[in-house]
Symmetry: C2
Amino acid sequence: MVPIVESAKAQAQETILQSDLCANLSSENLETLLTIAQMRTLGANREILAQGGVADAVYLPINGYQLVERSGSDGRRQVLAFLQCGDYLGISAGQSFLYSAYTLTPSTILRFPASRFFQLVEELPILKDNLGRISSQILLRVIDHLFAIGQKRAHARLAFLLWQLWQRLPEARYPQRELELPMRRADIGDYLGLTLETTSRAFSRLRSEGVIATRQGNQVEILDMEALRRLAEVD
Amino acid sequence: MVPIVESAKAQAQETILQSDLCANLSSENLETLLTIAQMRTLGANREILAQGGVADAVYLPINGYQLVERSGSDGRRQVLAFLQCGDYLGISAGQSFLYSAYTLTPSTILRFPASRFFQLVEELPILKDNLGRISSQILLRVIDHLFAIGQKRAHARLAFLLWQLWQRLPEARYPQRELELPMRRADIGDYLGLTLETTSRAFSRLRSEGVIATRQGNQVEILDMEALRRLAEVD
DNA sequence: CGCAACATTGAGAGCCATCAAGCAAAGTGG
DNA sequence: CCACTTTGCTTGATGGCTCTCAATGTTGCG
């Protein structure tokens, strides 16, 4: 019997291989990166990192779903991103994080202490390039997000999110039209700048227009891909 | 008499010295950077780069004000940023730009052809670090922007913009409470996800609440800095 | 001076937030 | 196994904020 730690490590290696962070890294460098990683297993709705906390580590989820949010002093919050395995978490400009991150579902997450991680970044140009690429991708994603919130109405914003989630499905599952939504309506609302009620009405509208169908367990089937794409207005 | 080109070059060097892009660069490296620069002088409301165009250059304004926008297929647009001298322009993830940029006022802009610029970036680690820092700063700014649009009401969004602009004044002018707004109400509206009329009403509201006063020539005086900061909800 | 561009203000409509109720699914304890 | 609770989703009614359409006022320029 393989020890749990070893099988988890194997899964980590498997996932990490396909992550943007580790693209093009030699297996030797990958091994080095894994030696500085700590593995954390968290239940649902646990804090990964806290807004205002010292940015002393970066993270890489290897399974489960997570959420990144920015909260204001009056309790309002803006959900910045929904994460899944292989997504880099830990961008910071200064000493501290300007957002919080939580698990949506039970998750296993690799934690890299900042000091050793960024030392490694300096030693491995490929890793540095990957970080730059990730940073650009995140920026472009946030710009899409900004455009959606600033210029679209409720149902089109939801279409935007569904399109985003669909496009991020693993390629093997790409022809598939089923989506799993591990987040609650309130999370989606705070992502789209809407209340949970308006979000629910947006689901109802897309349903009644025949764009999507919803099933048990927060499963969404995309019925009219072209209509969804047109509403989301991305290519 | 110094030739115009030379005096402009001197101004370029002066400005460039204080830009984030060129921070910590030796004067020798600065000189190298300037040798690959082309200087462009544009009138107001001219296109600097076009959404969808080939990302074959990056830019650095050395005077004037500029605007970056993302436009959708239905004509709606999201203003992404207001630029001024020393601001880096040219982030791209793929082959083409995903936004357009225009001059708001007559501007002089340095243009760096991408091939030679990024070759230089590879040769100068300091330049590469600066680019990374700029990228992070832009990301954080966009996140603030997202939070404002997603979670604030019209007058608070305007307060957010005014606060942003005030904070970006050169330090020498920092105690000053006067702001110049080179953009139109429609530009501000598209930046904040509002119509120009609602933007105008937001100005009126901040005026009537004694937070700001407006003068001729789109000058704004901040009367109640604390109220502005509280509305903008940033620190 | 007169025109053009931009800003302001008003009236009414529409979309979304708020408050509230009802419903469905999952978990809990007797 | 089944009340009971909890949690989350949906739907309805109402009010408020913003958009749209429109008119007026202001500034700047030829």
